[in-house]
Amino acid sequence: MSVFHRGTGIFLFLGTLMIVGWVLVLAIGPSAFDRYMELITSRVGKVLLFAWTFSLFYHLANGIRHMLWDLGWGFEIQKVYLTGWIVVGVSCLLTAGVWLLPLLV
């Protein structure tokens, strides 16, 4: 799980660059923007975006788990497993939620 925390962290940094790129093409103009949007909403783009969303929520949830450990809570082995599964479950739920949101609104 903690190698995943680092891996998602790196992937999220690349995602930050992707978002910054989005802001930059927005400032450049409509044609650059449209081409950028085509790229990120392509098949490959959507897969990467989905992976980015999951990485975000996984890293966030596991980060909270880390900070609880900082406070000294949750080191017992049953709690480690339980919170680990909660992290994975919450990540899946939030990822699904954010992806379904544009369809509902």
Binding site: L12, F13, T16, I19, V20, L26, M37, L56, L101, P102
Partner: protein, 120 residues
């Protein structure tokens, strides 16, 4: 888990690193939700919508604040990863490069937002 060679003798810089990592993390909890939800709404691709969103001062400011927290948090995290998996003198150089990249990224974003706000 946090083990970095910052070269100081009393460990003060390591403690600050640990602290700022947590501070930026706490700020990023609400900010990440805000960013991911807004970004998901933007993905219908409309240029006009996207510009309107970034022209709003509240959203632009929040985006910049989120970006600052993200870049601080990323830089601190990358510092650990570089030091753990690369290490040595090269690591120190790479950490400085990553810091410069973060500054560059921030400046470019500010310039883009200024341009979007002034050109309306």
């Amino acid at each position: 888990m946090t083990a970095i060679n910052l070269g100081d003798r009393n460990g003060e810089r390591g403690t600050k690193h640990w602290l700022w990592q947590r501070i930026s993390a706490l700020l990023l909890i609400p900010l990440s939700f805000w960013l991911s939800i807004n970004f998901a709404m933007m993905c219908n691709g409309s240029y006009v919508n996207a510009r309107a969103w970034l022209s709003a001062p509240f959203d632009a400011t929040l985006l910049l604040l989120t970006l600052i927290a993200l870049l601080i948090h990323s830089h601190l995290g990358l510092q650990i990863i570089i030091d753990d998996y690369i290490g040595g003198g090269v690591a120190k150089l790479l950490v400085r490069i990553s810091g410069l990249v973060c500054c560059l990224v921030f400046v470019l974003t500010v310039m883009a937002i200024i341009q979007l706000s002034l050109l309306g």
